[in-house]
């Protein structure tokens, strides 16, 4: 049993997928199906790190933020008004935590470089959260974007040499896949809201940022990741939910292939 649970495919794929599937199926009626992303990410975090946060490394900050983000999402969905300035504040708030997560690495750089990287991370994560949150009214599009963001950031991390960050990304994608599958089987979209889009984008953004700061992801893969939520907005004039989910996922996958291809191209050695 321990060999089974210790297998990366279980830790980063099967387990978060099942956790998200059950969570989405149970909580969809309370408009909290978006918490599926939390269930899936918490599962992969439990396997790879456990819920220990000392010393508070960059990876553990990522986990902590990923676990806290759904609370912000629930707050935004159920308490705050859906106004433009609130959306901007929420996206900037998510962006602002990215430099904090990687502060230990930023501090080792020169002041100018540290500021440039910090500002870049903030802008990237804020933009990713803002773009993904625009899909919050459509659970199918949000789920497809989460699926492609998770798998895309995971593949980028693997190409940047970090299998652990790769598993976090793939686990995130698996969780979004569970959320999407419930909608496909049920034939009706589930409310995604900030509850789903905020953690999905924040975690994927931090995985990308971590692959840049701690491994060897080229910086230009990060802005390319912004194509994923943009691609998930492309019209898919199909009535059946399962067909629309497949079509939008394909759009998002094509977009997610761009940062992965850039990472792959940058990683090729002189013999590659």
């Amino acid at each position: 049993m321990s060999d089974f649970l210790g297998h990366p495919a279980v830790q980063g794929g099967v387990a978060p997928f099942l956790a998200a599937l059950v969570c989405a199926a149970v909580l969809q009626y309370a408009r909290l199906g978006g918490l599926a992303i939390l269930a899936g990410f918490a599962t992969v975090a439990l396997f790879l790190n456990g819920f220990t946060f000392s010393p508070l490394t960059a990876t553990r900050k990522l986990i902590l933020l990923g676990l806290a983000a759904p609370a912000l999402g629930v707050l935004a969905d159920f308490v705050l008004r859906d106004e433009r300035w609130i959306r901007i504040v929420l996206a900037l708030l998510c962006g602002a935590v990215a430099p904090w997560a990687f502060l230990a690495v930023l501090e080792q750089k020169s002041a100018a470089m540290g500021l440039a990287y910090g500002a870049g991370l903030l802008a990237f994560v804020a933009a990713l959260v803002a773009l993904t949150a625009q899909l919050r009214a459509d659970g199918v599009r949000a789920g497809a974007a989460g699926l492609a963001l998770g798998l895309g950031s995971g593949v980028c991390a693997v190409l940047a040499a970090s299998a652990v960050y790769g598993l976090y990304g793939i686990g995130l994608g698996a969780a979004a896949g569970g959320f999407l599958l419930v909608q496909m089987v049920r034939g009706k979209p589930i409310a995604a809201g900030w509850t789903f889009t905020c953690p999905a984008a924040l975690i994927a953004g931090l995985i990308g940022a971590g692959s840049l700061m701690l491994a060897a992801l080229p910086w230009y893969s990060l802005p390319a990741m912004l194509l994923v939520p943009i691609a998930a907005r492309i019209p898919a004039p199909l009535s059946a939910v399962w067909l629309r989910a497949i079509a939008v996922s394909l759009y998002a996958f094509v977009a997610a292939a761009v940062p992965a291809a850039l990472a792959w191209y940058a990683s090729r050695g002189p013999d590659g």
Binding site: V158, S162, A216, G269
Partner: protein, 198 residues
């Protein structure tokens, strides 16, 4: 009476000099922490770190010593640096958060807390290893301790050398990736150490 006192003071100076603690600076070109870890249960993979720096002091009469080492984690090498057709080499992988997280934790340090002597030579160093922000006690057994003149300088420089061995558990320091399926939890350490007297 004053002359007699001055004589005793002058005569005791060389003794005081030999009894004083001696301070040494680690030679990074002859100090290499090396390690061995089980790979897939089939073989023992070996690697090393370069560029180790540090200091130690020794007082043979008082039988006390201190040791501080700093090892740059990005210098890890297992003989697989070239990527070839692969996205990343094994040494690059070892520097990522999967293992040593060299960008966030550029150095691991070792600080002795107690040194036990056998005769005039250190035999066991009890100390704290700090790796990935985690500090754990790691004892090092000292072998082949030798101090004397550096033959290359015709005795003008004094040096000491030794080999130290120990082991750690990777999971104690938060390294969990691939443990124990792909790599073993126990990592054996060998440290070849040389230092010059200040």
């Amino acid at each position: 009476m004053k002359r007699l006192a001055a004589f005793f003071v002058a005569a005791s100076l060389p003794l005081a000099a030999t009894a004083a603690p001696e301070s040494y600076t680690i030679d990074p070109l002859h100090t290499y922490p090396q390690f061995e870890v089980d790979h897939l249960g089939y073989s023992k993979m070996r690697g090393r770190f370069d560029g180790t720096s540090g200091k130690f002091t020794i007082d043979r009469q008082a039988k006390t010593a201190s040791l501080e080492l700093s090892v740059p984690t990005k210098t890890v090498t297992t003989g697989d640096e070239a990527r070839g057709p692969r996205p990343r080499s094994r040494d690059e992988h070892l520097r990522t958060p999967d293992f040593l997280n060299a960008a966030e934790f550029p150095a691991m340090t070792y600080k002795a807390t107690k040194v036990s002597f056998k005769g005039e030579d250190p035999a066991l160093i009890e100390g704290q290893l700090t790796l990935l922000g985690v500090t754990k006690p790691v004892p090092l057994k000292v072998e082949n301790w030798k101090c004397g003149p550096d033959p290359r300088t015709k005795g003008q420089k004094q040096m000491c050398g030794a080999n130290a061995t120990g082991s750690i558990k990777l999971t104690d320091f938060g390294i969990k990736f691939g443990v124990p399926v792909f790599i073993g939890d126990e990592l054996k350490l060998w440290i070849e150490l040389e230092a010059y007297k200040d």
